[in-house]
């Protein structure tokens, strides 16, 4: 018997990960630059960075096994279970312009954030 991939779809709207429409547009344009028709986003956390945990963003077409799938603003976000613990409630935004920081995570779980904003601690 084959194991079914355990992809979980979250349509509850409860504590989840959100992405702004501005961020979606920028991710789509990055996807277009790479010649991808369908662009979704893998959002994850990895150990490291000054504050201990670093955000990871990666263009993706489909979820991997055991990833949670969150649909938001026409885009699917793929998050592994361990990363989800640290990202639940986060909104991914995009700050453009000359002084903008690019993709910004508004993460309510982050107690401290490093100077450049790419890592956090809980």
């Amino acid at each position: 018997m084959m194991n079914k991939p355990s992809v979980q779809r979250d349509n509850s709207g409860a504590l989840t990960i959100k992405i702004s429409s501005d961020a979606v547009n920028h991710i789509r344009s990055f996807g277009n630059l790479e010649g991808k028709n369908k662009t979704n986003l893998r959002v994850a956390v990895k150990g490291g960075g000054c504050s201990g945990l670093t955000y990871v963003l990666e263009l993706a077409e489909n979820p991997s096994d055991n990833e949670k799938v969150i649909s938001e603003n026409g885009m699917e976000l793929y998050v592994d279970k361990k990363s989800y613990i640290f990202l639940a409630g986060t909104t991914l935004e995009y700050q453009g312009g000359l002084n903008g920081k690019g993709f910004v995570f508004q993460n309510p779980n982050a107690k401290t954030t490093c100077g450049c904003g790419t890592s956090f601690s809980v």
Binding site: K46, C50, S51, S119
Partner: protein, 323 residues
């Protein structure tokens, strides 16, 4: 006490509380590099480095001994800190391909050989030149009576600046090598075999931080004199921002120093009603009457003094500080 003379002798020690684990998987080095202070990505095969696990606040969790062998990393730490180290690595491991092997059989124990004459001693025992530059390691094969050949791993670690080699092997082979050392003891004078207490004395008089007395979450590596195990150009790792700031703006509050007092002193050091530091390690009473200790002392008290000095603490004891 003449330290220079003391360090000429060869000291041999097999720690009773030390643990090796193997870390395998393609992401091992990358993960350890992101979690610790030294540049491990540059560690080539058969090379060793010390690297510190620190908290996001820059406080020390443990100092890891990291040896890059073909296909696996051999991590060494105090047996007392092992669970904490494992929890730390596990917490920061997400999707990485990393496997930790706790009960590997090749390297279960080690022999530390310390002192300026350590390499002469090793060469004498094994009959070949095994001089290695710092951080390098090599395998040697040895004919073990009735058991065929055994393979030992020799590493030049240099935690003791004046000479420090280690032999990694299985517990059984470590016992065999120790027996071999002892059989040759009449051929090589000035060899001391240390137990845990004697090693502690030796470490203290050489002003070297140990776990958990000096290496703990109350202090950062810059205070403990472990700056040489921090790479300031490798980029981000856990605690990097705090450590870089402490170093750049000279914000390090304490300094680990060797002190001497021939009277009993409290662990808290007070001078003119001001807290100036804490004693963290004591030598045993049979070693120079237990006069030597390690203490973290406020840098604001030491100021820019560049030579040894004395002060009187609040109980009237005279304390000498070795700079």
């Amino acid at each position: 006490m003449n330290l220079a003379e003391l360090n000429l002798n060869v000291r041999i020690y097999t720690p009773s509380k030390y643990k090796f684990i193997a870390v395998k998987g393609k992401d091992s080095i990358d993960l350890l590099d992101r979690l610790t202070t030294n540049d491990l990505k540059s560690l080539k095969s058969m090379e060793h480095a010390y690297s510190l696990l620190v908290s996001p606040k820059g406080r020390m969790i443990e100092m890891l001994s990291v040896l890059n062998l073909e296909g696996q990393i051999i991590l060494g730490c105090s047996a007392d800190s092992l669970n904490k180290v494992l929890e730390w690595i596990d917490f920061y491991t997400f999707g990485e391909e990393v496997e930790i092997i706790l009960d590997q059989k090749d390297y279960q124990s080690k022999i530390m050989i310390m002192g300026e004459n350590s390499i002469s001693f090793i060469n004498f025992i094994f009959g070949i030149d095994m001089s290695l530059s710092e951080g390098k390691s090599m395998f040697i094969a040895l004919n073990k009576q009735h058991y065929g050949r055994i393979k030992l791993l020799i590493v030049n670690k240099n935690y003791f600046d004046f000479g420090h080699y280690e032999i990694y092997a299985s517990r059984e082979d470590v016992d065999y090598v120790l027996k071999l050392f002892k059989q040759n003891r009449h051929n090589f004078k000035f060899v001391d075999y240390l137990n845990d207490d004697k090693f502690n004395n030796y470490r203290i008089v050489n002003n070297l931080a140990g776990y958990p007395t000096e290496i703990n979450e109350n202090y950062n590596p810059l205070e403990a004199g472990l700056k040489k195990y921090i790479n300031f150009s490798k980029g981000c790792y856990v605690g990097q921002e705090v450590i870089a700031r402490l170093d750049t703006y000279s914000k390090v509050k304490n300094r680990l120093v060797l002190i001497k007092s021939d009277t009993e002193v409290d662990s808290e050091l007070i001078n003119k009603d001001k807290h100036i530091g804490n004693i963290t390690s004591y030598t045993s009473p049979d070693f120079y009457n237990g006069d030597y200790k390690l203490a973290y002392i406020r840098k604001s008290f030491i100021k820019d003094i560049e030579s040894d000095f004395n002060f009187i603490n609040n109980t009237g004891s005279e304390i000498k500080v070795y700079i």
